[in-house]
Point group: C2
Chain length 204, copies 2
């Protein structure tokens, strides 16, 4: 499964924010919603093999992990307001959508949990190894860790480096977190397709 | 200049839509806003060398071309609601933002205008030539033509093919229009950087 983790330093950890002001009252919930959109949506479909964990560290109840699973998601549309409205709803009443799970969990607890499942981590990092150098050995079935507009705190980044990992760069342009996810999915799609072609039975 | 054209078949051509319902009352104005975001924003900055023309064909006053210029844009933030609020405002009163221009112009008139300026067109097309085959000969200083969720109408596509053009595919996955723009910018950034490296004075 393709898995993304977004460290969202300001994302509000209650249902008490306005859908009319996602950047301000939501603590950059607009950014969060765009990341969810690019992690899970393609044209007229959802990525059933993907999930994204938003680790919210904003007031008043941090930390919270809000996880979206493409295979289970129901009734969500890819616009910022709708995704944010779901984040608002599930923080008030859990189990409203089989594809969204909310937990009281820290970034480090989430990383440790995934590491114990044997996941490999790619940390998006401007001084990481260029993704084009890593291709085609890039492991599609991995966990990609991204910071928000404020970046991943050093202590959290250092924690991830205790586990099997690699730092990955998308080149010398600094993209929005949501764009990083779109680009990662694109690079991974190309690997997946090339892999399927290599493994296809000859003559069919 | 990097230039994008989005054919937005349902995008409302008046200020009479609700910012609380961009997909419905705005005629997929959420999609339009995401495209503008990915055409012009990078992390903590705007792409000064880029523009995007939204060709709106929704009710009640089609067609309208709403153009966003990264070099001139003021006071716009990358969230869907803010971009859409500007689209609403400039359709009521022009010249509110030096970076946004509204014109009564059809898709074909816009194409003809750009063609007379000598622009080369890349039409995003699922049966086009794979962008990775076209690289690194891809012309960065070109105009990229995209359809919305309903695609580019055949008669409009045929019109573009009267001028210097190439059909371009991003592989076998169908992406959201906004994701296509993010991916195109990523591929173009890589070409631009590789080009600058080739042209850099040796020893510096």
């Amino acid at each position: 499964m393709r898995e993304f983790i977004l460290y969202a330093r300001k994302a509000v950890t209650s249902s008490n924010f306005s859908l009319n002001d996602l950047p301000g009252s939501g603590g950059r919930m607009d950014l969060v919603a765009r990341c969810v959109c690019n992690a899970l949506w393609i044209s007229h479909d959802l990525r059933r093999d993907s999930c994204i964990h938003v680790v919210a560290y904003g007031a008043p109840n941090p930390p919270r992990v809000i996880s979206f699973y493409g295979s289970l998601l129901r009734d969500v549309t890819p616009d910022e307001r709708n995704i944010a409205s779901w984040i608002k709803k599930v923080q008030k009443a859990k189990n409203l959508n089989p594809g969204i799970r909310v937990r009281k969990l820290s970034f480090q607890q989430l990383i440790a949990e995934l590491a114990s499942d044997g996941r490999f981590f790619y940390i998006l990092h401007e001084r990481g190894r260029d993704i084009r150098e890593v291709l085609p050995a890039l492991k599609e079935d991995s966990t990609f860790v991204l910071g928000d507009h404020l970046g991943l705190p050093a202590k959290e980044e250092n924690f991830v480096t205790r586990f099997p990992h690699e730092k990955l760069s998308l080149g010398s342009t600094s993209y929005l977190a949501s764009q990083c996810i779109a680009i990662l999915n694109y690079e991974l799609d190309r690997i997946a397709i090339a892999g399927r072609r290599r493994n296809a039975p000859v003559g069919i």
